[in-house]
Symmetry: C2
DNA sequence: TTGACAGGTGACCGCTCGATCACTATAATA
DNA sequence: TATTATAGTGATCGAGCGGTCACCTGTCAA
């Protein structure tokens, strides 16, 4: 239980900070949730603030490893239906993965207090998804699946509503099923509107 | 300076809570910002929590008075360009009005801690704008300005990206001009895509 | 003129906060 | 086996927290 404790502390901090915020979380509560006593924590971290900074380091590194580089880009779908499938798969992951949920909630809560949290929040909530879908849509246009248009604008128009529904799940988890259905409905609406095949009005 | 002080306390609480959160704000700091001493506050409020609840009461009442009833609905635009104009006017208000900004930030920060804040956040960030634009788009379809489609879906597809850019302004105010430009660009993209006049691909 | 009262003050209370420290148990190493 | 480093403990610290109280002052109605 050597390096392990440090990781457990960070996990507990992510959990508590994401629910009660940094200021609303105290060290006693945090360590007690691990069956430790408050003073033990200072064997692993210098201060509460160092926990916060380490947590941010970890979140930034995780984001970079998971979404940061072009290699992680999902493949360009071969059909409009493939876009829906891919979207639902990604949504499912991001909406049900506990760690990702907590990360998002933490960034939501602390984005106005910490510069790095602010920057990471913008990536998580706005530019990340957009930048991921821009080349996908460009590729789909090349394949003749989508009408020619500005792929970045399409990516924004596509990801922002989905992002809003992800936020809804974070806020009101009991609406998760409803939100998932809305994501799929929106995705189908999108391919109907932007799909290359001509639809009458 | 009788009833006045109570209002000033609430205004200061909105300001501090929206920046540092409820747990991150202390009474001394709050009263000091009004030139008062801590104990004076308890002539007007029973506790810190009562300030919070009164603030929420006020925000809920304000939202209801401003956006809650159908009478406040903006008129259905007479042209596609009118939709852009109306959108920019609304965006300008909501992005520059200090009280609205602080309300949004407060709800963002505290939505996971308080049931009423959670509900109001969903209104502010998701359903409110959508419900406002649904009848507008229905009306524009009736006028032959927009292609026939599900007006609620269009309202969602229209307002969610705009809402995302409003959030960006809250998070990174230095990007406000850029975000306003993006809102306009998105609005024009939207009328291009959904406008009843036929556009080639 | 007086008495009640609203509103503001400073001293103070008990508590909880983050943090420190001397100490101990354990386990690996020399 | 003796030594040393690691990790956990409980007592304790000073500071800051939300909240209380006796007191003061100006206003206004009786």
């Amino acid at each position: 239980m050597a390096k392990d404790t440090r990781e457990r502390i960070l996990a507990a901090a992510l959990d508590l900070f994401s629910r009660n915020g940094y200021a609303g979380t105290n060290i006693r509560e945090l360590t007690a949730s691990l069956g430790l006593v408050k003073s033990s924590l200072y064997k692993h971290f210098e201060s509460k603030e160092e926990i916060w900074n380490s947590l941010l380091d970890e979140m930034i590194a995780y984001y970079g490893a998971r979404f940061g580089s072009p290699e992680q880009l999902p493949p360009v779908p071969d059909s409009l239906e493939g876009l829906v499938t891919m979207t639902m798969k990604m949504a499912e992951f991001t909406i049900y993965d506990e760690k990702v949920i907590k990360t998002r909630k933490l960034l939501t809560i602390e984005q106005f207090r910490d510069e790095r949290a602010r920057a990471l929040a913008t990536k998580h909530f706005l530019t990340g998804l957009k930048d991921m879908f821009t080349p996908i849509f460009a590729g789909m246009m090349d394949k003749g699946l989508l009408r020619r248009d500005d792929p970045a604008m399409l990516a924004f128009a596509y990801t922002a509503p989905i992002s809003a529904l992800i936020h809804l799940c974070d806020r009101e988890p009991e609406k998760t099923n409803e939100a998932m259905a809305q994501i799929e409905a929106f995705s189908r609406h999108f391919i109907k509107v932007y799909g290359a095949e001509c639809h009458g009005n």
